[in-house]
């Protein structure tokens, strides 16, 4: 394989400098600040802080409700990822098979990703309203079956569906691109050998889609841990009884509303390491099964 090198290192340094600067300002700098705060008790209006070592982490990790928050975050991450990836694959396969009206679908399916999370939250809050709309009929037929204001499970289902709905669009784009990059000749060869659509999908398309699938999985899991705030904030506010108190929402609540900057900083660090660890696990164990062509 041929590789291109820049002869002049200064030019290359100049090229990457803007990007590095942005990463430094928006990632390394705040992260280092959070690291520092996590080991202190910071007074919000300034006026000094006290070094407390690992006290903040000890407080958080010995709090059973924090572990509960981790637990609901994992449930949310798995639920929304499975739903979003599964739906996106099905939709992408349909569009790839060029079913009637697929062009319109394609645009329609990409759209949701451009909608802000709070708007999604508001829309789904309306859809899942137990006293109006479709859920009213469901409740009418099976009384008391749906009530996200008291049932933690219902509330969790509600945020998972809303979160997944928003993410489907993003996944869909990647799956569709992945499917369309599979050489037609392979599918045609399969068809000549007598494989039907489902068989071709199982034996040709899905295996060849594995690299895309892996990428989408990593992005979805990361995203569901770090980007679920808007939906929870508008739909449940972390309730009922902390059933949807996802880690990232708890950080916002403690830090920005409760002004507990140090506790929130420590939680951010924990969240960051959790996401790093999860991504590492995915690369270590799942990527092995992926064959790049």
């Amino acid at each position: 394989m041929r590789r291109a090198y820049f002869k002049n290192n200064w030019v290359s340094a100049l090229m990457v400098a803007p990007q590095l600067l942005i990463i430094f300002i928006f990632f390394y700098w705040p992260t280092s600040q959070a690291m520092y705060w996590a080991f202190t008790l910071e007074q919000p209006w300034g006026g000094g802080n006290t070094w407390v070592g690992f006290d903040n982490f000890r407080d958080i990790l010995s709090d059973s409700l924090y572990w509960y928050s981790i637990q609901v975050s994992v449930v949310y991450a798995l639920g929304s990822t499975v739903l979003a990836v599964g739906m996106a694959i099905i939709l992408a396969v349909f569009v790839d098979r060029q079913m009637r009206g697929f062009k319109a679908y394609k645009i329609g399916l990409i759209w949701p990703y451009a909608i802000a999370a709070p708007a999604v939250g508001l829309a789904f809050r309306f859809i899942f309203n137990p006293t109006a709309g479709i859920m009213l009929y469901v409740n009418h037929v099976f009384p008391g079956v749906w009530d996200p204001s008291t049932s933690g499970n219902d509330a969790m289902i509600m945020v998972i569906v809303a979160g997944a709905w928003k993410q489907v669009a993003y996944n869909f784009i990647f799956f569709l691109a992945g499917l369309q990059s599979i050489p037609r000749s392979l599918l045609e060869a399969g068809a000549i050998d007598g494989a039907r659509a489902l068989r071709r999908m199982r034996d040709i398309q899905l295996p060849l889609l594995a690299p895309t699938f892996f990428f989408v999985l990593v992005i979805n899991i990361t995203d569901s841990f770090t980007d679920s705030f808007g939906i929870v904030d508008t739909m449940t506010g972390g309730g009922p009884a902390r059933a949807t108190n996802l880690m990232v929402f708890k950080i916002f609540n403690d830090g920005f509303q409760g002004l507990d900057y140090s506790g929130a900083a420590a939680q951010s660090i924990i969240l960051m390491f959790l996401v790093v660890a999860l991504t590492f696990v995915q690369f270590r164990y799942i990527e092995r099964k992926v064959h790049y062509t």
Partner: protein
């Protein structure tokens, strides 16, 4: 060439305009009221600016108190804080501890502006004063909690508006008997009403050290007071079908449930008085009463809610002078009357209340009924347990209470267990707050 004349003229005009307004000394004012109330607040700025040729308030609205406090902190740390900050009670403990503010009573005295502080209702001014009685922030949009009831329902059931919680329960049963399908009490867990207002009215504390005024080594006690009985009653009313949970998540807030003639009772801020007028379905006959008390208890004053105006430290003398002029403007009876009649808030000075009463403001709809809030707030002189709450981490404490009460209402634990957990966790928060400000005391 000709074409550029209008542009030049516009430029010159713009230049004149900027120099004209540059003559005025500007100061920043950030507020957390949003929606219609935010618009009304912005109008007070316009009124002030129109009345002034020397100072100009540059007013910026944020979507909620939490957000404005958080933004002000970020700006303060960067040296760009506003001069005046509208902040709510629960968010000010940190500000008090930091000392990064200019006590409003001192500021007015420093600039030689006479304000009759005795004219302010003690229930309001005490809330925003230090434990020694110096007023820290300017009382502004003030409210208190009241009970709203559907008059037609009570008439049909043949009961009078309740004054005790026992009568309230009897009224719920009577309403239920006259119409079994009716929702009696639209309940929405509110720590402000169910704990803070309730405890003040019954003259019981929610924490040691006189609700935190006397020291930092405070612990919460609300899992051992009358509050427990009250919450257990609410839970029982819900299981007996007398009360229903009405929250945004269940599709309808308690306020909407009342305004849309779904439920007979609801408890809320007097500031909602105008909202109910706007939202009420055609022909809804309703009125307000003071929150009930339990039999065998003497009623005390309820506490003030809403927000007050803080002057932050580190600004120039000119800006402080401007802020002082603005406060002076707000303190006039005329401004107060304008504010009160355009919002659902209550007057903060005795003279404004008297004038409004004398003018018949409270005699007819849509303002009739609002005087109930004044009656509740001034029922007794504020005592050590009813002047307010001086507790750190109050926002998180409120969240703990809410989560635990929700858990109890969902049947995950008993109310006593829930309140025990809430107290235990809140004590942890207080201890952390005390540690953050080690060696300091609340003013």
């Amino acid at each position: 060439m000709n074409k550029s004349y209008p542009a030049l003229a516009a430029l010159a005009l713009a230049f004149c305009a900027t120099t004209a307004s540059a003559d005025k000394i500007k100061f920043d004012y950030w507020y957390g009221l949003s929606g219609d109330l935010g618009v009304t607040l912005a109008e007070t700025c316009n009124r002030f600016n129109a009345s002034q040729d020397k100072y100009e308030a540059v007013c910026t609205g944020y979507d909620g108190y939490e957000l404005v406090v958080q933004s002000a902190i970020a700006a303060f740390r960067a040296g760009k804080a506003p001069t005046i900050l509208q902040s709510f009670d629960a968010g000010t403990a940190d500000l008090m501890m930091s000392g990064e503010f200019y006590p409003v009573q001192k500021m007015m005295a420093d600039f030689g502006i006479e304000i009759d502080w005795a004219n302010y209702f003690p229930g309001i001014s005490n809330y925003y004063a230090s434990s020694k009685g110096e007023l820290f922030s300017m009382p502004f949009n003030s409210s208190t909690a009241v009970m709203y009831y559907n008059a037609a329902d009570l008439e049909k059931a043949g009961v009078a508006p309740p004054t005790t919680w026992e009568e309230f329960e009897a009224a719920l049963k009577a309403v239920k008997a006259s119409d079994p399908a009716r929702c009696g009490f639209a309940y929405e867990p509110s720590v402000w009403i169910d704990l803070e207002q309730f405890s003040a009215i019954h003259n019981v504390g929610i924490a040691t050290n006189n609700n935190g005024y006397d020291g930092m080594d405070t612990t919460f006690t609300f899992n051992t007071t009358l509050h427990v009985k009250h919450m257990e009653n609410i839970q029982r009313w819900m299981t007996e079908g007398l009360a229903e949970l009405k929250t945004a998540a269940s599709g309808m807030t308690s306020q909407d449930a009342f305004a849309q003639n779904v439920c007979t009772f609801y408890t809320g801020s007097i500031a909602s008085h105008s909202s109910i007028h706007l939202k009420a379905v055609e022909g809804l006959a309703w009125d307000v009463i003071m929150l009930p008390v339990y039999e065998g208890n003497t009623r005390h004053n309820s506490v003030v809610g809403g927000a007050s105006l803080w002057v932050l430290s580190g600004k120039s003398e000119d800006e402080y002078r401007g802020a002082a002029e603005y406060m002076k403007f707000l303190a006039t009876a005329e401004s107060e009357k304008w504010w009160v009649s355009n919002t659902g808030y209550i007057p903060v000075t005795k003279s404004a209340f008297e004038q409004l009463t004398a003018e018949g403001f409270y005699a007819a709809a849509p303002y009739k009924g609002r005087e109930v809030a004044m009656q509740s707030l001034t029922f007794t002189e504020p005592g050590p347990l009813t002047r307010g709450y001086r507790l750190g981490s109050m926002i998180q404490v409120r969240a703990e209470w809410k989560s635990e009460v929700e858990a109890a209402l969902a049947g995950q634990k008993t109310m006593q267990e829930a309140l025990d957990t809430a107290v235990e966790r809140s004590n942890g928060l207080l201890a952390k707050f005390a540690k953050t400000y080690e060696g300091k005391t609340l003013p």
